[in-house]
């Protein structure tokens, strides 16, 4: 009888301890994901395919090597300028409004086959200005943020400086916030 009671206590502890641990750790996990982006849900699109999330279709249109603009300072040795064109298209009304919202953000990164990750360059002298957007927000002629009509494509240009050996295997990574989601677009 005593052994049976002890067994029941033991089983109770086996259930209780993981439950307490989960209750204390899981809220921190959410905060960790929100702050770092690591561990966020991922949506992966294969080469030539589009990724869909929250009514927005994301597609890696092109990665090209760009010559350095005439007046630009030299690049670091053994590096190239990679220009990525990413298209974003709202498929729903809610997604259309998302392009005009002030809250939330999208950060663009380049990754290579070795798992290295590069931020977009802050240098504006490397490539000529283009008509493409530099962010995932839509603006009117007064530079006020506005919804992007359903079905219309917003082309975003992102410029990176990457080591020459990374260029052939580059792909795109987009980290969305505040609800963290990582979108990976293969080349």
């Amino acid at each position: 009888m005593s052994a049976r009671r002890n067994l029941l206590y033991g089983l109770g502890l086996l259930v209780l301890i993981p439950a307490v641990l989960a209750a204390s750790v899981l809220p921190w996990r959410e905060k960790y994901v929100a702050r770092t982006g690591e561990g966020a849900p991922e949506i992966v699109a294969a080469r030539g395919q589009a990724a869909r999330h929250a009514g927005v279709e994301w597609r890696l249109t092109e990665i090209k090597e760009s010559p350095v603009a005439d007046q630009a300072r030299p690049l670091p040795p053994r590096t190239k300028v990679a220009v990525m064109l990413i298209s974003a298209r709202p498929l729903t009304e809610a997604a259309s409004r998302w392009f005009g919202q002030e809250t939330g953000s999208c950060k663009f990164f380049a990754t290579d086959a070795a798992g290295r990750v590069w931020d977009r360059t802050i240098r504006s002298d490397l490539v000529e200005r283009s008509e493409h957007s530099i962010t995932c927000r839509a603006f009117d002629e007064n530079y006020d943020m506005v919804p992007l009509p359903v079905g219309r494509v917003l082309t975003i240009q992102v410029v990176y400086v990457v080591p020459a050996d990374a260029f052939p295997t580059l792909s795109a990574e987009i980290r969305l916030a505040p609800d963290p989601v990582t979108i990976r677009l293969a080349r």
Binding site: Y32, T36, G37, G115, R116, V117, D119, V162, P163
Partner: protein
Amino acid sequence: MRRAVLGALTAAALLAAIIVVQRATPSVDQRYAPIVSRGRLGEQVNTTAFQFRVDRLQLARSVRMTDDYGLVGRPRSTPGVWLVVWATVAATREAVIVQGTRLRTADGTEYMANTSILHTLEKTPLQPGMPVYGPMLFEIPEDRLAGAWLAVRQHSGGANALDTLGPAVDVDLGVSPGHAARLAAEVPPSLTVGPVQAL
């Protein structure tokens, strides 16, 4: 009787175990401290986020910084001496910023790297696969160089608080009291310091 003794012994053993565990538990500072890799002057130290090597040291009474275009800035003096630490650093996987670097002297005093002078390694963004070489500047009393260590910390941008748990590097600058005395005896009045260079 035997059962009571056994119970008392078990309780004493558990109490002792609790005391041992409490004493062995790391302090808050230790728990949240960065994971430090140690090295010496001239030795490359690898962490999961970046690689770091101290290449050489220089002292000067005043420094003049050169910018990317080769223009030399105005002289910057100090009540002590300038210690210029030349280092090579590279990000390994993601972009990082080396920020909050300190010089820790033999008596435990810490001196922050100068952040008001531009074109140094401090706060320079680093991208993977693109190593850079450059200076870090510290203002220190002349007699504090012997036994000094460099404490290098990273900053990854958005998740500031989590960097305290991240990788870090401590480098023994290898300055013995004799070496420090020789360096102090030969401090030049002025030193022109070049900017960070991509390698």
